[in-house]
């Protein structure tokens, strides 16, 4: 995993929302959402499918009107000034949403026109060059591979040099190499002072973010710097190695009081919020002498699997009508 990027000093604020709520029909898709994003930060949105990530992003860039709450984005009111916000925000949708029957250059040109850019020709040429697609500017966007589509989409939503970039699961279905290239791009942009808000499913992407918020069923469960999140939950972990891990896994899961047991290749990660109980369990297991139990600092992965398990309970308690 990549080095963790130190959190930006909380100076200027790019986004600040409080109590953001959206109701579709009778269902609260986003429920009392508060968030602060510092300027120039990479802010990660994590959460299971249908947890309200997309809806939240759409409310912040003025695509949806919130049913409750207020906030400002780049110093503009998210309800009143949505048109002004749109001019300064780049929004990359989850699904490829450029025109497949237009060429790469035509798509970029169309977007540039939409934002009323003066020097369109130069901008488009520059974007094509940056993409490394000089010879293929006349190629139809629909014929690009998944990774190239994502990069083109990113180039399109950057064409008007926005101050804020909203990326909705930008790397879903893209191969690891293309994903890494994509994130290099994102970090370059952040270094230039662009604020990036990105939603993702991938843990290796989450750790690239300066700050993470975990959402489930429209509620923010936790937020903080990536490395602080396991500590915030208060999760302790033991790494277990040895023979017949599957058998041990089954036995531990059947036992009451054991936290979560996750298999990572040739290791079992046993985690729980009750450190004393976990230590006692490790003591008992060590005494058997079959497996090696080593305490470790809980990682993001354990933390999010823990949160997701909790969210499932949440779902059962509050059935979505």
């Amino acid at each position: 995993m990549a080095e963790q990027v130190p959190e930006k000093v909380a100076g200027e604020v790019a986004i600040s929302v409080t109590g953001l709520t959206k109701i579709f029909g009778t269902r609260k898709v986003v429920d009392g959402f508060d968030m602060q994003v510092g300027k120039g930060a990479i802010y990660g949105f994590l959460g299971p499918n249908g947890s309200g990530k997309t809806t939240t992003i759409r409310m912040m860039c003025g695509l949806l009107t919130p049913d409750g709450g207020a906030g400002q984005c780049l110093g503009l009111d998210i309800v009143r000034d949505s048109r002004e916000i749109k001019k300064r925000v780049g929004y990359m949708t989850q699904k490829f949403s450029l025109y497949e029957d237009l060429t790469i250059a035509e798509n970029l040109d169309f977007t540039a026109r939409m934002f009323g850019m003066k020097n369109r020709k130069a901008l488009v040429a520059e974007a094509v060059r940056d993409l490394g697609l000089e010879g293929r500017a006349g190629q139809l966007a629909g014929t690009l591979s998944g990774g190239w589509k994502q990069r083109l989409a990113l180039a399109a939503c950057m064409i008007h040099s926005p101050d804020l970039l909203l990326l909705d699961e930008p790397t879903a279905g893209v191969d690891p190499k293309a994903r890494r290239d994509f994130w290099d791009e994102i970090r370059k942009l952040a270094a230039r002072g662009v604020t990036v808000l990105v939603s993702t499913h991938y843990m290796d992407e989450a750790v690239q973010c300066d700050h993470i918020a975990y959402i489930a069923y429209g509620k923010k469960l936790i937020d903080g710097a990536a490395r602080d999140i396991p500590g915030q939950i208060g999760l302790s972990t033991y790494v277990v190695t040895g023979p017949d891990l599957s058998e041990l896994e089954a036995r531990l899961e059947a036992e009451d009081g054991t936290g979560q047991v996750i298999r990572f290749g040739a290791e079992l990660h046993v985690s729980g919020t009750d450190k004393a109980a976990l230590d006692a369990l490790a003591e008992v297991e060590r005494a058997r002498g079959t497996h090696e139990w080593v305490a470790k600092r809980a990682g993001l992965e354990e933390a999010f699997i823990y949160l997701m398990a909790g969210a499932k309970d949440n779902f059962m308690l509050e059935p979505v009508s």
Partner: protein, 381 residues
């Protein structure tokens, strides 16, 4: 200035327009259809579909042979419409022939017809037509009057010419008749314009708009500062252009192939035609607010096209429809545009003659736009 630019900016409208034209150009099949369909329909309806029947097997039911009968059979033989197949003497035999399809037209000459004719009594002739094909039957009826009149006129010559007078000295009684307004290719061709325009305008507009939301491109589009009016106008205008091209192709072909006249006021036609295009685009827009996928948009469009073909008076005479069907037909813009086109092209009508039709289309337009806008607002969020 900046406030106005917030509502409508020419540059963004123009960008949408250009994009639509590029997409239209790339979509060769649809583009070809837009020009090909009117031409094909024109040829099909103009050449293949001929409501004037030919060589209908015809019997004459008559008790006594007389000079009048001879001249009738001769007249039928020379006519294109009828194929004289024989004479029967009883009603039973003619009924049988009609039932089994050996004959589709039977002319019954009552006993003493010739004598009555000479006496100046105005006798009756009975024409029985197989109306299971009402259009053919209607044509037969129309043609038969002419044939009979000529034949009798010819037979009443020489010493009997005193009995020949105008109007015809006999009554032709029609049995089971279904008489449409006597469609000819001259009449069908202008009507076809109404149907083709409606078909392409509604369908293509609906599909073009729904495509944006189905493919997800609408999401990117509305994330830009573009306004709904810029999107709508930019998307719809290219199809107005298509409507112009279709109409031009159609009018030229109609003139070249079928010598359909254009006798009335071009201004009246032009105004009515633009109004008609707009109302169809509005219907397409309305369809797009209901449909979620392009397939649904297509099906819904066909749903609107069927009544346009069947109830507008294009296929079947409007006056012959029952009241409820006429009521539905009146709510269809094509009904009024059809009348407008027929008035202008065939009857030499001007603005004054078509104001009523234009007013009717305008009313439909207002209703459609009101409903569409209401629905559009609901779908924004």
């Amino acid at each position: 200035m900046s406030r106005l630019a917030n509502i409508f900016a020419w540059s963004r409208f123009y960008a949408v327009l250009v994009k639509e034209f590029i997409q239209m150009r790339r979509d060769r099949v649809t583009f070809g259809m837009m020009i090909g369909v009117p031409l094909m329909q024109l040829l099909l309806f103009g050449y293949a579909i001929d409501t004037d029947p030919h060589n209908l097997p015809t019997l004459i039911e008559v008790a006594d042979e007389s000079p009048v009968v001879r001249s009738l059979t001769a007249a039928m033989d020379t006519s294109d419409y009828f194929d004289f197949i024989g004479i029967v003497t009883s009603e039973a035999a003619s009924d049988e022939a009609l039932k089994d399809g050996t004959a589709s037209v039977i002319l019954t000459i009552p006993p003493g017809f010739e004598a009555d004719l000479i006496r100046g009594v105005t006798p009756e002739l009975l024409l029985t037509v197989d109306a299971s094909d009402p259009v053919a039957a209607g044509g037969a009826i129309g043609a038969m009057s002419g044939v009979v009149e000529t034949a009798i006129g010819q037979s009443l010559n020489g010493p009997l010419s005193f009995a020949a007078k105008s109007p015809a000295p006999f009554d032709l009684v029609i049995h089971r008749a279904f008489n449409p307004s006597g469609e000819t290719s001259l009449n069908i061709v202008p009507g076809l314009l109404a149907v083709i325009l409606s078909m392409t305008m509604v369908l293509i507009t609906a599909v073009a708009i729904v495509r944006e939301s189905e493919k997800g491109t609408m999401e990117s589009l509305i994330a830009t500062p573009v306004t709904p009016s810029e999107v709508m106008l930019g998307k719809i205008l290219p199809y107005v252009f298509v409507g112009y091209v279709q109409t031009a192709v159609f009018l030229l072909a109609a003139r070249a192939l079928f010598s359909v006249p254009f006798s009335g006021s071009f201004l009246a036609f032009f105004l009515g035609f633009n109004l008609y295009i707009i109302v169809n685009l509005a219907i397409g827009f309305l369809v797009s607010t209901v449909a979620r996928t392009q397939m649904q948009a297509m099906q819904l469009s066909f749903f609107t096209i069927l009544p346009t073909i069947l109830l507008s008076g294009f296929m079947f005479p409007f006056a012959a429809m029952p009241g409820w069907a006429q009521a539905i037909g009146t709510a269809i813009p094509a009904t009024h545009f059809l009348r407008l086109v027929r008035k202008v092209m065939l009857k030499g009508g001007g603005l004054a003659e078509v104001t009523q039709d234009m007013a009717a289309i305008a009313v439909i337009l207002l209703v459609v736009v009101a409903v569409a806008l209401k629905r559009y607002r609901q779908t924004l969020d």
